[in-house]
Symmetry: C2
Subunit: 437 residues, 2 copies
C-alpha cells in the first residue's frame, strides 16, 4: 500500500483470516520521507567549523532573512525578559505550573551512586555526573512549542548541567515570546538567535562567541536532524524523533467523542502522524470513526488531521481486550499508549513496549504533553522496543571505580594474567604480573 | 602535526609558555581514519533485507571462504559444547571467575521503578523493562576476545534480555574455542557463524532462520561499524568505539616499570591507541619513558605498541598533581584513568570526566579489562564527557505512567488547555476540555 495515498482509516478484525498480513503492513508503513540533505549539511558544518561566527552569521542572515553582526547573535537578558514579560499572565501561570510538575517528576529520576567492598577486598563503585554543557535546539516559526522547551530543558537542569545553551532561529527577526518565557522558566543560561545546520555546528564545534557544548538535544527539521547525526561522536545527541503516534486501547464504556478527540490530538500534529484504536466492540469502533468525522468538521487543523487519519489511521477490533490487546500493543510499541479501560493498571502490567502509558478514561494523552510531569519527548516508530523517553539520565554519565589492595590483586590478578595470555595481550598480563611479584 | 608520523612521545611541561597550544594539539589529534565503506555496506544491507538467508550465506561463503548452506549457519549445541570443552580447564576457571565478578557488579546497576500519587491526586510512575532480543557482534580471527564476549553478554542477561543472539564470523571455518566457552558461560542463547555487514543486516531485519533483534552491540571493523550506523533506528545500537586510551596520573613514589607497562597495555592494542602520563616529577617521567623502551625490547606486540607510543603517547609534567591534574584529566576525558597516587579516592572526587577510574598503585587498568567487575566497554575519544560505559541500562528501557482521576484532571487540565491553545493545537486542548465538562 502506498503510504502517501489517503485511503480512509483501515478497520481490521483480529479474527479475520487476512489480519496478520494487514497488521504487518500497518507496522511496516513508511511514515517519513525526509529528503537527503546530507551533502548540503556537511558543507555547512565544515564551513562553520572553519570560519566560526562569520559562517554562522552569513547562513543566518541568508536563511532567516536577517542582517545580524556576530555580536548580535546572542540574545541579551533585556531582550529575553521583555519578550517573556509580554506574555499573557495566564499563560505564564500555566507555564509555571507545567514546569513545576515536570521538575518534580524528573527529580525522581536522579540515579544513585554505589560503592562497596566485596569478598575479595576489591573496592567497587559507580558514580554519576552531569554533562557540563548541553545545547537545546528549538525550531522557529509555527513549530516552536514552549512545552517542548520545558521538556528538554528541565531534565538537563535537574541533572545538574552547568551551562544550558538554547538556539532558536528567528526568521525575519521575529522572536516567540512564549518560547522566551519557557526558556526563562526552565533556567536556560544562554540563548542564540540561530537555527538550522549552522546552529548545530556552532554548538558542536564552538565559535568565537559560542563555546562548544557536550550534548545536543531537541527537535528540528531534516537539516537539523542530519546535522545532529553528523556531529554525533564529537558531541552526544538525543534520539532523532519521527512523526508522533498514539495507540488507544478502549472498551465500549467510553464516550466515542472523547476517544476520537484523543486520536485526532496526534493526527493534528503532522500528516505523517499515526493514530490507532484497539477495541473489543465493532460498534464502538464505528462510533469513534463517526465522531472523528464530526470533530473534523470544526477542528482548525482538520486538513492535517484528516490526511494523517485517512493515510495512517487504523481501527482494530479484537475479541477480548485483556487477552488480545497486549501482544498487538507490544508489536506496535507505541510512543503514546492510552488505556481507556476499567482497570488500566492491570492492563499496563501486561504490556512491555510503550514510551508512555496514560491510565484510565480521564487521562487524555494531551495532559501528558503539557502538565502531567513525565517527559513528552518519547521514542517513535517502534523504537520503544529499545529506547526511552528523554530524562535526566540523558544529561548524565557514569564512571566506574575499581580499587585493589595488594591482597585483593593477589586474589583476582592471576585470572586476569591467564585471560590476557589467552588473548595474546602480554603487556596486559605483565602490568598485573609485575605487581604480583 | 601529522598524526601518522611517529615522532616519539611528546613531553609537555605545564609551566611552559607553549603548553596550552601543545596540549590542545594532543586533544585534537586524529587517531582514526576509517575508510568510507558506506556504499558497499548499504548494498549488502539492502541485499540481506531483500533475499534473507540466501544473501547472508553467499556473502559469508565469499568473504569467509566457506561453503555453507543456510541450514548450517546456526551453530548446534554440540558444536558449541565440543569447542568450549576443548579449552584448557585453567582458562575455564579464569573465565568463570571473571563472569561471576562481572555479573555481581552489573547486578548493582539494576534500576528501580517508582510510583507515587502527588498532591493533585495524579498517579505517576516509571517502569523499566528489558529489551526482548539483543544481538552481540563478535569479531572473528585475532580480534576475537573472550573477555569482550563476557562484557557485552552479561549485562544483557542481567538486564533480563530474553533472547541473546551472537554472530561471529569463522573465516576458513575456524571456530575460536575460547569465544564459545565465554558465550556458554555468559548464557548466550543462539550463535550464528556469520560476520560483517551481512551479519548486522541479518540481526536487524531478520531472515528465514534468524529472527530479528531489537538492539545490536559489540565491536567490529569499519564495515560492521558502518552497518550498525545504517540500521540504527530500526534497532538500537551501542556506541561506536574508537581506539583505546589510558591516562595515568602517577607521583614519583611509583615503580616506573609498573607505570610504563600500564601505558603499554593500551598501546599494544592498536597503533591508533593513546597512552598519556601526568606526573609532578620530570625525573620520574623520564624514568617511565626509559622503562617503556626497556619493555619494548621484549614485548611480543612491541611493533604495534611502539608505533602507538611514538605517534600518540605523551608525558605531561605539572607542578602539583592535586591542583593541576584534575582540569587536564577532565579535558582529556579518558576512557581509562589510573590514579597511582597515595590518596586516589580524594583525587578521583576532583575529576568529573572519565569512563573508568582505577584507584591506587595496585590497580593496573588491565585487571579491569578482565576480572574487576565493571565493564571494559567504555567511551573513547573524549566521549566520556557525555556517555557511559556499557551496562544493564543499555539493555533496558523506561516507560512513564500517568493516571488522572476526574478530580485530578480538574486541577491540572486547565493549564494543559491554556498551553495547547497557545501552541495552536486545538485537538490537544479539546481532548482535555471535553473531559472537564
Amino acid at each position: 500500500m502506498n503510504a502517501d495515498t489517503p485511503r480512509g482509516p483501515v478497520t481490521l478484525h483480529a479474527s479475520d483470516a487476512g489480519f496478520e498480513a494487514a497488521f504487518t503492513d500497518l507496522l511496516n508503513q513508511k511514515r517519513e520521507n525526509d529528503p537527503d540533505v546530507n551533502a548540503t549539511v556537511a558543507a555547512i558544518l565544515a564551513d562553520v567549523r572553519a570560519r566560526g561566527d562569520a559562517a554562522v552569521t552569513e547562513y543566518t542572515n541568508r536563511f532567516d532573512r536577517q542582517s545580524l553582526t556576530p555580536d548580535q547573535i546572542r540574545l541579551t537578558a533585556d531582550e529575553i525578559n521583555s519578550a517573556a514579560d509580554s506574555v499573557d499572565p495566564a499563560l505564564l501561570v500555566a507555564l509555571r505550573q507545567a514546569a513545576e510538575r515536570i521538575r518534580a517528576y524528573h527529580r525522581r529520576q536522579m540515579p544513585e551512586d554505589f560503592q562497596y567492598t566485596d569478598d575479595a577486598g576489591v573496592r567497587l563503585g559507580s558514580r554519576w555526573s552531569a554533562v557540563e554543557a548541553a545545547g537545546l535546539y528549538v525550531p522557529g516559526g509555527t513549530a516552536a512549542y514552549p512545552s517542548s522547551v520545558l521538556m528538554n530543558a528541565i531534565p538537563a537542569k535537574v541533572a545538574g548541567v552547568d551551562r544550558l545553551v538554547m538556539v532558536v532561529p528567528t526568521p525575519d527577526g521575529v522572536l516567540n515570546p512564549l518560547v522566551m518565557a519557557a526558556a526563562r522558566e526552565a533556567g536556560v543560561d544562554e540563548i542564540y538567535r540561530i537555527g538550522g545546520a549552522q546552529a548545530v555546528g556552532a554548538l558542536a564545534y564552538g565559535t568565537e562567541t559560542i563555546r562548544p557544548v557536550d550534548k545536543i538535544v531537541g527537535p528540528g527539521n531534516a537539516f537539523v536532524a542530519a546535522a545532529k547525526r553528523q556531529v554525533f561522536g564529537i558531541v552526544g545527541i538525543d534520539m532523532i524523533a519521527g512523526p508522533s503516534e498514539i495507540l488507544v486501547i478502549a472498551d465500549a464504556a467510553n464516550d466515542p467523542a472523547w476517544i476520537a478527540m484523543d486520536l485526532l490530538s496526534q493526527a493534528e500534529h503532522d500528516t505523517a502522524a499515526q493514530s490507532i484504536l484497539i477495541t473489543d466492540d465493532a460498534a464502538f469502533a464505528a462510533a469513534v470513526a463517526d465522531a472523528v468525522e464530526e470533530h473534523l468538521k470544526t477542528l482548525p487543523r482538520a486538513g492535517i488531521a484528516r490526511e494523517s487519519w485517512q493515510t495512517h489511521g487504523a481501527l482494530i477490533v479484537v475479541e477480548d481486550l485483556r487477552r488480545d490487546a497486549p501482544a498487538l500493543a507490544d508489536r506496535i510499541a507505541a510512543e503514546h499508549l492510552e488505556l481507556a479501560v476499567e482497570e488500566p493498571e492491570a492492563l499496563a502490567a501486561r504490556i512491555r513496549h510503550a514510551g508512555a502509558i496514560f491510565l484510565g478514561r480521564h487521562t487524555p494523552e494531551a495532559v501528558g504533553d503539557y502538565v502531567g510531569g513525565p517527559n513528552h519527548v518519547l521514542p517513535t516508530a517502534r523504537s520503544a522496543r529499545f529506547s526511552s523517553g528523554l530524562g535526566v539520565l540523558d544529561f548524565m554519565k557514569r564512571t566506574s571505580l575499581l580499587g585493589c589492595t595488594p591482597e585483593a590483586l593477589a586474589l583476582i590478578g592471576p585470572a586476569a594474567v591467564t585471560l590476557a595470555g589467552a588473548e595474546g595481550l602480554q603487556a596486559h598480563g605483565l602490568s598485573v604480573a609485575l605487581r604480583l611479584k
